[in-house]
Amino acid sequence: MNIWVQQIIQVIISGIVTASAYAIMGIGLSVIYGISRVFNFAYGSFFTWGAYFAWILFATFSWMNYPLVFLIVVPAMFFLGMGTEKVVVRSLRWRKNWQVTTMMVTLGLAFLMDNLALVIFGGFAKPLPPLFHGAINPFGFTLSVQDLAMLIIAVTVMIAFGLFLSKTRIGRCMQAISQDMTGAEIVGIPIKKVFSYTFGLSTALVGTGGILLAPRYFITPHGGWAPFFRVFVIVAFGGLGSIRGTLYAAFILAIFESFVSWSLGATWVMPFWFLVFLGVLAFRPSGLMGTWG
């Protein structure tokens, strides 16, 4: 096979793998906005903390493995998110301009969490062990088992999340709230509880993303901002609150990113995201699915 074609396919595969991690993080950011109308600026910090939790487990117990890490960290993130909603966000909700107020508060929270990480873990980058070792070579392409596992986990999470929204009672409540909050309240849905769950769920999703991406990069106290910015652009591009739009956007942008990185080099990745964002602003500020404004 032509070497160019092979390389391009390799780039696409790598894009799809990153896309899947971005997608679940994007869904988390989007869903929390769609349902509880909160834009969480501490999202990147939760990403970092998810990875730090995994690092703590690996550093403390030599026999630790990934399934166990997921089993412990994801629920922990869920409860951390729920707690955050209760303590930090909830009482602001019925104020005027509370959407902007919650943005400010979550910015404060991000600052708190980042600096807490700095105080506890120091500024040095922490590594996580790889998810899996080795690689497979289907049809002559190289695909590391780690990437494959990432893809499978992410797709599973997405499918599970879709089923959760459409099939379960709480999922249907979330849909009802996203369509009419007061309507949901007057049919007797305990909306505050559902907001907590939503926040928890979104945090669990970003925590999952953190664990999945950390083996590829390193963990630093402020390391959550770069992925947060990417997810931010993805969500803006897809249309804030639109899960389908977020999915499309994640795949389109991540594959583009891996092309940029391959052809122009890694320094151009952030400017590329910036250009996409400007493009979105200029031509379609409401996003792919047009749910803004």
Partner: protein, 237 residues
């Protein structure tokens, strides 16, 4: 069945409800009238837990619900039907109704309630697979009432059901509410179009500037000069 004792509610600094007390008896059709912006809707929202009362006590079926959350109040059978419809636009009529039966008590009787709602509003069963967003004003109003019934309501607190409806549809809605009441449901209705509902009411209460000006049975209300002046006499409707 429902008793309010010295309720006060504020909108920011604005004292919207001043020291209101009244009783709604089982099976009653209790009509609250009064000019707009004088606190009627605020009163209903306070009762249903959407707004917090600053002082006073609300008792529903011997249980105190003064500062209870809306979902708890709905579960007890006090259901609010809003003036703005608050339907779930991207869900079907049937799904909207099913979400009405969210609380535990209602879920057990979901099928039964659904049949009753479809019996009461045959149009809804025709449209049950249409999205709520596509309904006309009258149909949407029926759906809000149906959704309220689905919650296994013992008392329906209905806020201005005639709002935004053409005259021809208003009578239909009021007839339905009367029918619901006749089947044993207690109804607490807030309304502007007094003339069209006054015949159904058992008890009438007039609120002006957040205070109760008059509260009594219909017969008495029809004799009250002030009430006549303000609402029944110089009517434009």
């Amino acid at each position: 069945m429902l008793e309010l004792k010295n309720i006060n509610t504020y909108y920011g600094e604005f004292h919207a409800i001043r020291d209101i007390s009244f009783k709604v008896n089982q099976g009653d059709f209790f009509l609250v009238v009064g000019p707009n912006g004088h606190g009627k809707s605020t009163l209903l929202k306070t009762i249903c837990g959407l707004l917090r009362t600053a002082s006073g006590q609300i008792v529903f079926n011997t249980a105190e619900i003064t500062r209870a959350a809306t979902d708890k109040i709905v579960e007890m059978g006090l259901v609010y039907v809003a003036e703005e419809r608050h339907l779930f636009p991207q869900m079907t009529v049937l799904d909207n109704l099913k979400l009405g039966a969210y609380n535990t008590n209602a879920r057990a009787k979901e099928q039964e309630s659904l049949e009753y709602v479809f019996h009461l509003f045959p149009q809804l069963s025709e449209f049950k697979n249409r999205y709520a967003a596509t309904l006309s004003g009258g149909e949407a109003r029926m759906l809000t009432l149906g959704r309220g019934i689905m919650s296994c309501a013992k008392l329906l607190a209905i806020d201005e059901p005639s709002f935004g409806l053409a005259p021809i549809l208003r009578n239909e809605v009021f007839d339905k509410i009367n029918e619901i009441n006749s089947s044993g449901m207690t109804v607490l209705l807030v309304e502007q179009n007094v003339n069209q509902v006054v015949d159904f009411a058992d008890r009438i209460c007039l609120i002006e500037d957040g205070c109760i000006v008059f509260d009594g049975p219909r017969e008495e209300a029809l004799l009250n000069e002030h009430l006549k002046d303000v609402f029944l006499g110089g009517s434009y409707r």
